[in-house]
């Protein structure tokens, strides 16, 4: 009879042994009934324990999905949020009280008064956060929210949605070799045209963005600085690209070149439309 410790056998049952070690155990099992019975018993023990844990999880899942309930005030709403909401409600009640008592409605804020004369005015000077976010919001369309965060790991789905948006087969370039990992994609709009935004993260620093839009004659890469952002724009196969990041000119240009090289193959196959 061969002597094999439970430690080794449990590791075998767990699939933690390397190929050679596992093969050696299997050879022993083939001619040693005692060890074979022990392994069978350990496997059975594992299976039953796993099944028991799965049963508990299945119960928790059923409990969680059964009868979705309308939301009620949650215990987990942070206290400071409740305090803010309370203060806001108190302020409104006080304002209404003052109004009823004849003190009139509280004056508008200086911001409101400044824009009161011209409600539609959106100037660039002085520039404040409102201008910036409104410009950013203008890029959002319904399609922007159709690729949820939970779908970002599904590259095939992402490629399909992006390809449909820009009307040609398109796969987000893999920049892993360059030290950037794909983070997420969304479909923006520029006017009525879809505009794809792909975001990548390097080991540090702000995200690197690749914008992709249909149209435009082929054009070689052209670098341009946009404030703190370095951008490289080019067109290829009827698709316009802009790569931008807070970086120096040379790294962005190299990344653009890498994307161009990887995009060549993509343009050969146009996207087939659904019947």
């Amino acid at each position: 009879m061969t002597e094999l410790s439970d430690e080794l056998l449990v590791a075998y049952v767990d699939g933690q042994l390397a190929g050679k070690q596992a093969s050696a155990i299997e050879r022993v099992l083939a001619h040693d009934d005692v060890i074979a019975r022990r392994v069978a018993a350990l496997k059975k023990a594992h299976r039953r324990l796993e099944a028991a844990f799965d049963a508990v999880l299945a119960g928790e899942e059923e409990a969680a999905v059964s009868h979705p309930v309308p939301p009620s005030p949650g215990l987990l709403i942070p206290w400071h949020t409740l305090v803010k909401a309370g203060l806001a409600a108190g302020g409104i009640v006080l304002a209404i009280g003052l109004f009823i008592a004849g003190y009139g409605w509280p004056n508008r804020s200086p911001d409101g008064m400044a824009s009161g004369a011209d409600g539609g005015y959106v100037g660039s000077v002085p520039q404040d956060w409102r201008d910036e976010v409104l410009r950013a919001q203008a890029l959002l369309g319904r399609a922007s929210l159709e690729i949820g965060l939970d779908s970002q790991g599904d590259h095939d789905f992402i490629a399909l949605r992006l390809g449909r948006a820009i009307g040609t087969a398109f796969t987000p370039p893999d920049l892993g070799e360059e030290g950037y990992r794909f983070a997420r994609a969304q479909i923006l709009r520029f006017g009525a045209d879809p505009l794809v935004q792909l975001l990548y993260l390097g080991a540090s620093g702000t995200p690197l963005a690749l914008y992709v839009k249909k149209g435009g004659a082929d054009a070689v890469p052209h670098a341009k600085r946009y404030g703190a952002l370095e951008g490289v724009a080019w067109s290829q196969g009827g698709v316009a690209y802009l790569l931008a990041g807070e970086s120096d000119k040379e790294p962005v240009a190299k990344l653009a070149e890498a994307i161009r090289n990887r995009s060549d193959a993509q343009h050969a196959a146009p996207l087939q439309k659904k019947p």
């Binding site: 439970d6 767990d14 039953r48 028991a52 999880l57 928790e60 899942e61 409990a63 939301p71």
Partner: protein
């Protein structure tokens, strides 16, 4: 059960609009939006989503797994739900202690375990009855109740029970399981060998009972 539904609803309501309420985990209870351990990148970093989602969303997506962990730790559902509720409140209040880019599930399990240890130090709860512990395994319809395994798991100290859960149920490697339970990977491996060996002996020594479906247990 009604309290339990309210508990889940209150957590969902804290972060989601009513029309966005959905089932955020896949068939194995792993988050669709928060990577399970096996989905981490090769360098140990979690995928990109975690950089954009709040810890609250991640915790919600892991609720069934967290609930299972708390239930098996506390030994019964009601105590497990209370323990998880307290642990979630503390995790959300002290969100800054979670280090972005590390596995959220590992951190959350460790937080639940730590809270349980702290509370147990102050006040050891009463022994859980066999029926209450066994009910943990009878929640899902159509599942076969394995009384032998349930009895064996109940006989184990909570730390050993969790060792099995983390390695066999959650597929953690001994290093991560050790992080959760604040012991070395060697201790985890030794526990696993000892417990698996004991259970295998017990199974071999006794004639197994005929499994019976869980009827009317919900």
């Amino acid at each position: 059960m009604a309290k339990r539904k309210r508990f889940f609803a209150s957590i969902n309501a804290a972060v989601m609009a009513p029309d966005e309420m959905c089932y955020p985990f896949d068939s194995r209870g792993y988050s669709r939006s928060w990577p399970a351990r096996g989905q981490t990148a090769g360098n140990g970093e979690v995928q990109a989503e975690d950089l954009y989602e709040s810890i609250r969303t991640g915790l919600i997506s892991m609720l069934p797994r967290l609930m299972r962990f708390a239930d098996l730790l506390a030994g019964e559902r009601r105590a497990g739900a209370r323990l998880l509720g307290r642990a979630l409140r503390r995790m959300l209040a002290e969100e800054h202690r979670y280090q972005r880019g590390t596995a959220l599930d590992c951190w959350a399990f460790a937080e639940i375990y730590r809270l349980w240890l702290e509370e147990r130090r102050d006040h050891a709860g009463p022994e859980t009855s066999d029926a209450r512990f066994g009910a943990l395994f009878c929640m899902a319809r159509g599942r076969v109740f394995d009384a032998v395994t349930a009895t064996f798991l109940k006989s184990l100290p909570p730390q050993q029970r969790l060792t099995l859960l983390l390695v066999l149920g959650e597929r953690f490697d001994p290093i991560d399981a050790g992080r959760v339970l604040d012991v070395s990977a060697e201790t985890i491996s030794q526990r696993l060998v000892r417990i698996a060996g004991t259970f295998a002996d017990a199974l071999a020594a006794r004639e197994e009972r005929e499994p019976a479906p869980c009827e009317g247990s919900r």
